[in-house]
Symmetry: C2
Subunit: 419 residues, 2 copies
């Protein structure tokens, strides 16, 4: 069996990741928002590399890059994304794209390997214009009206204007060809510290947690900060602060072992130093892979709001604005990653859910999907200091290439080869 | 004595206030920010009314309107402001200007009254471009460099650009002529509910409280809201919420009887729903007329911050960004308002500090100053629903006119008449 292993060219993987890092470099990370000049350069760079893997590149009308193979046999789709969060890390996205490119370069030209890896870079996974627009377009979930409505979250630019600036306006959008792929494989940095803390090298993703998001609005009474006695105030900002502290006190007894919750944004209205806020709003998010846990926490959230509304000076309204079903990863993909880890990472792997969203959850709606993680130093994510040790990047690449080989071999043994 | 009383023309006062309300009308209030078209119209309107009071109008290079009198005898300066907070009340500012105009109309043409009331509308008391820029310019506290640096808080417009649009660029700025005025009198709505609750009609301001303002910064660690376990988070937003709740718990035992404190603005950085805030900031304000109380509360603020920094996951820094000394109102002015209230408001007056800042605190740095309040319905302020009963407006105008008459008479009895 060991004679069949295929390994990555570790130096080539690291060189490619560093080449991408140059597009929009920011300190040790990158600033490469969707449809920025740096993003455009990274897409062109990838398209130019794909022929090395005997793939024909296409950049489609929503900024997806896809490399397709004419090789007979099963096709495995693999990839991730190339844009970044603002002033964020160099590996979040590119790692998965370069692993896919490397697997394609190693496996596709080899006539002893049945079938091919096809490489994808999904546009805007990071959500500058929407939510997984590129992968959702590929699986048929994005309409032209959705694109008409999409706007850059940090500039007044519309998505249509951005597509025109990128030279992509009017291009057709690629759609998944049903039955073409045996599945989708994506690698990513863990973005947490579980692997590092346990001295493990590979995370085998069991599920991608759902994200439930809430807008919580506190209605008090706007008034003058100098003339309104403390006793008669209806301070919406203070009510919000109390609510955050109450969540922090009550959620731990009701949550699951890996539930996380976050208040990411707070707005006081009108937000002036001399005015008691009459209205306050917070964006609140809960993530878990167990809908029963979410249901319990959502009930608690409403109970806290009702109790505070009844006893306090402000009215609190909880509105769910995003409901995310968790996505389960394919069991055979998990087993294959585990087997490859046993052979090429000393078995130092762990099955774990993904707390972050990934394009794999979108692809999982139309084909079997799997994901593997490599360790993140200090668990840092969405910050320019995000990093992974070079040795861990190379180990991950070896496991990824070998997982692709096994998935193709397994498929070839049961699927009649075409062409 | 009663034969000498002068009363306001109540219908004229109400008509004038309603005329001003038409400039920038918003629901039952006004939206008349500094140097808006509505503001420009209100300044012109006032300048056109001043000759009715035998005053010569000037609109100066910072947007102050001043009516000066050639009448011999003592001069009393009186006024307030005409711009409003955004979408705010119709009386906050205009009441004091129209009272001053009415006193001047009643007293100046009357040859039996010694001296005259001079009317001022101070620009930007509401702080759209700075802090009391108009009155501070008049007393010599604003440099050309200050104006160069001033910017609109709710638009990208500089103060220079705004002055040019208003047709005021290049005009000289009026400066107080030392010794010209026996003092400054200003009327204002109370902006609180003390008078209404006590069924009183006139507030006699004893002092204008100082405002101490703080920027409190919470430094945690920015991270991914899906992948970072609750146990290892350093959530700056949660630390801020806890701090607000701690202030609310600890301040009441350390404050004075009329101290107020307010968190008017909260910012989480980066402020995205899927990112744990690594930094949070709040603008915090304390008002009192006793510096000893402020010193005690400031010490408590630092103690809370130090304790939380030592025990919690975030570092908290407290920075004082504004120090406001309280301004004492002149004792003789207070006595005169009280005497006039006894005769024209049935004695239903109360001595009280002002929790809000007013131009009177600036004028008080160069001349005796006094202020009187009329009731605010429900204590509402800085909101378009702010209001005062018509009868209370008229009572206030009577007391104001009579206070002016007595102040001029008292001054004439001890000052040799000029001219």
């Amino acid at each position: 069996m060991s004679a069949q292993f295929r390994r990555a060219d570790g130096a080539r993987v690291l060189a490619d990741l560093n080449a991408l890092r140059a597009f929009g470099r920011y300190k040790t990370g990158v600033h490469r928002p969707t449809f920025s000049e740096a993003h455009r350069q990274s897409l062109s760079w990838l398209a130019e590399r794909l022929p090395d893997a005997q793939l024909t590149p296409t950049i489609d009308g929503i900024g997806n890059v896809l490399g397709t193979s004419a090789k007979p046999g099963p096709k495995l789709l693999a990839g991730s994304h190339l844009e970044s969060q603002n002033h964020a890390g160099w590996l979040d996205g590119p790692l998965g794209v370069i692993y896919a490119l490397e697997a394609a370069r190693v496996l596709n030209p080899d006539p002893s390997i049945p079938g091919a890896v096809e490489v994808a870079s999904w546009c805007d996974e990071e959500g500058h214009f929407g939510s997984f627009l590129g992968s959702r377009s590929y699986v048929g979930q994005v309409s032209e009206a959705d694109i008409d409505a999409a706007r850059d979250r940090s500039s007044p630019r519309s998505m249509r204007e951005a597509l025109t600036e990128m030279g992509l306006a009017g291009r057709p959008r690629l759609q998944a060809e049903r039955g073409r792929h045996i599945g989708y494989l994506e690698a990513h940095i863990e973005q947490g510290d579980t692997l590092e803390h346990s001295e493990l090298k590979i995370g085998i993703v069991t599920s991608i947690v759902g994200i439930w998001q809430y807008r919580i609005v506190f209605a008090g009474e706007q008034n003058h900060a100098g003339t309104t006695r403390m006793a008669v105030r209806k301070d919406a900002g203070l009510a919000l602060a109390r609510f955050c502290v109450a969540i922090d006190a009550r959620f731990p007894a009701a949550c699951g072992p890996r539930t996380v919750w976050t208040t990411g944004r707070i707005t006081l209205d009108p937000g002036a130093p001399s005015i008691i806020p009459g209205r306050a709003e917070m964006l609140f998010q809960i993530r878990d892979d167990d809908p029963a846990v979410i249901a319990r926490l959502e009930q608690l959230l409403h109970a806290l709001a009702d109790a505070d509304s009844a006893s306090g000076s402000c009215q609190i309204a909880v509105e769910r604005i995003r409901t995310g079903a968790p996505a389960m990863m394919d069991a055979a993909f998990q087993d294959t990653i585990e087997a490859a880890s046993r052979d090429l990472a000393g078995g130092r792997s762990l099955r774990m859910p993904s707390g972050a969203g990934h394009d794999a959850q979108v692809l999982a709606t139309i084909m079997p999907a799997g994901m593997l993680f490599v360790p993140s130093i200090g668990g840092v994510s969405h910050h320019w200091t995000e990093n992974t040790a070079d040795a861990d990047i190379v180990t991950g690449a070896d496991v990824f290439v070998e997982t692709c080989r096994r998935l193709l071999a397994d498929a070839a043994s049961i699927i009649p080869q075409a062409g």
